[in-house]
């Protein structure tokens, strides 16, 4: 069975402390619950969580929805976003199955990134690393007033934003990720993933986002 890999990159820098980080945790729980009740996602979706606060770390390796447990995360340190992008490129290279004479390739991975600030490391080297691997759609979310949407456009043209960093906005974002994964896992189940990569698939291929999420 072809798997649909999903990488979720979360900013866990100091500024996320309090309501934002708690909302992210609840968001991950909602995501888990939603996808576990979706018979299409249960068949194909696999999730990995990468956090970036003080340093980029893969807190959950690529895991089947059924065994996936939302990780305990803490807000701490700076915003090494470039490091997180290099790390996800490295993990994709390692974890996503390629086509061999004996094996069908996995679907191209979906990547979701959420940040409330601006990178404290070298973003462009991370972007360059990410370009070296094949991905499906990459979505970056600028959460709250201090995130820089234009900077995120350097990672992907699929940038969304949240006006505020409160529970309502963050939970809306996670619900939308869940809906996007459900829709994609159903489509890939059906073989219609728009696998043109970053420069082909657009946000219009995902379910319409709730009012809390702005498109750019």
């Amino acid at each position: 069975m072809r798997r649909l890999p999903i990488y979720i990159l979360l900013d866990t820098s100091k500024s996320m402390e309090g309501e934002p980080i708690e909302s992210v945790k609840v968001g991950l729980e909602t995501l888990t619950t939603t996808l576990r009740s979706d018979p299409h996602a249960l068949e194909t979706a696999h999730i990995s969580i990468i956090t970036f606060g003080s340093r980029a770390r893969q807190v959950v390796p690529l895991t089947d929805i059924l065994s996936f447990q939302p990780p305990d995360i803490r807000a701490w340190g700076s915003t090494p976003m470039g490091g997180a992008l290099s790390l996800v490129a490295d993990r994709i290279r390692d974890e996503v199955r390629k086509s061999t004479p004996d094996q069908k390739a996995d679907w191209k991975p979906l990547v979701f990134l959420m940040t409330d600030g601006i990178p404290t490391d070298h973003l462009d080297s991370g972007v360059a690393e990410l370009r070296k691997v094949k991905t499906g759609m990459v979505v970056a979310c600028a959460a709250g007033p201090n995130a820089d949407k234009d900077l995120l456009m350097r990672i992907t043209e699929n940038v969304v934003s949240l006006d505020t960093l409160d529970n309502a906005s963050i939970s809306a974002f996670f619900k939308w990720i869940s809906a996007s994964i459900s829709a994609t896992s159903q489509k890939v189940d059906l073989g219609k993933q728009d696998n043109k990569g970053d420069d082909g698939a657009t946000l219009e291929d995902l379910p319409p986002p709730p009012p809390e999420i702005n498109l750019h």
């Binding site: 004479p101 069908k104 890939v188 993933q193 728009d194």
Partner: protein, 551 residues
Amino acid sequence: MKTVKTRAKTVKTRAKTANTRTKTVKIRTKTANTRTKTANTRTKTTNTRTKTANTRTKIVETKTISGKTIAFEAIHFASGGMKDVHYTTDKANVVAFFRDPVDRRGMERLKSIVGPYREGIFQNDGGEYWSELFRWPTDIVEHGGRVGVVVPAYEPHFYFKTGSIDNDTLNIKGKEKQGKWFSTCRNHNKLLHPEERGDWLSRIRSMIRVSRAVRRMHAAGLAHSDLSHKNVLIDPVSAKACVIDIDGLVVKGKHLPDVIGTHEFIAPEAVATSHLDRNDPKRVLPCPVTDQHALSVMIYMHMLLRHPLRGGKKHHDDPATDESLAMGKRALFIEHPRAHSNRVKPKQLRPEERKWGDPDKIPYTISGPYLTPLFKRAFVDGIADPRARPTPGEWELALMRTLDMIVPCAPGCDMGWHVHDGSNRPRCPSCGHGHSNQVPLLEVHSKRGSRHTPNGTRIAVWNKKSLFRWHADSEFVPNERLPVDMWGRVGYMQFHAGQWFIKNLGMEGMRNVSEDCEIPVGEHVFLKPGQILLLSPGERGHLVHVKMTNQ
């Protein structure tokens, strides 16, 4: 709420006072509330928006195009691929609003669906019979710049009662029973609670209903155009099925399809030509023949828990290209008798797929002598030649005949029932169990001219199996045309003190031909090998020859 436009009258009412007719609805509301609660306590902040939404439900009141007043909840409870679905206040119906605008042609189609097409099916002979096989739109609503259809709400048995294993670890209690839950090894055999799974008998019965529903649509010249796991609800527990999402009907030369279908179910010729413009004469769009492919795939998946075209063959390094070749231009049956390149590779299977996912262990031929040739026509001949595909009516008949050929298996067997292969030592292909007692088979003969000759059907006998009018006489067929008072049993079979007998409860003129005597209603006859019994003396009455197996 932004969704409520000024034209309509809005009233606030407490959600609790809303008349909740079905249990499932209550369950759903409860879950929604608890979830929000958790979110709130965890984050310490109160999310006022959500709270308002949960404790108070705004109601929209408006008129349908037929002039009826309709009141529905302003907030949708579900969102499908194309529609947002709202409950009416009495929960008997839903209003499903299309998110995209509906153009003039689309509106014409909807009007035909709620009008003449609906009347054609529901207001003819046996019309009432169809109401549980379809959720057919009854009316149209235009509100807030959007167009919606009024559809009867799903019956309660189409929502999970027990849900998944380990005290519903997946939290699916109260959710819709989509076909996908029952048609993959992982979902069905590993994750669903055993109480939700049903058995092979109930799977055959629910597939009879799906076939019958599609047969009826096709008879009216309508193609569903998107038969899939999402658009057919299945309840293996009560053996029911219901075709939903009937708003995209295709009528040749009149209503064109909006969607190409759902990929696992799209006919190979439609996949292979999907890159062409929709006006290109070579482009294949949904029509009754593509419905026939979808129906065949659905029956295969429900009976065998795997997809007929998803095998080990790799066509391309790019996953999307590979997939569309596998479902389209290079589609090949994984159990093709001669071309073996798409056979399943057992080492690619997950642990829970190793039995049902492997056709070497459970070949499609376990489906018996009536279904096997239809699967062959659908996936060996019908891939390249759509005309070879079985019609829904053929599936319905073959499934009904198969229903009479299955026998119960040992407790704990994951099929529960299996087709009696006609041999002297029938065994279950899944658990390998045989039978401890004799198993009689009744070979059915029909009159041709003045003589009775075998009509190709057999009735496998098991304890307390009922005999119905259609077993005794071809005059009767168990479908929408059979009057309600003709559905009762007219006899049953029982094993008692080492012997099998048939009890006659209502077969007038039943005779034991071997001993030339009548078997009056209320009497019974012991079954002996080679015995000949006449079940009905009518022109289309059946004669059965008794064969004892497992001697």
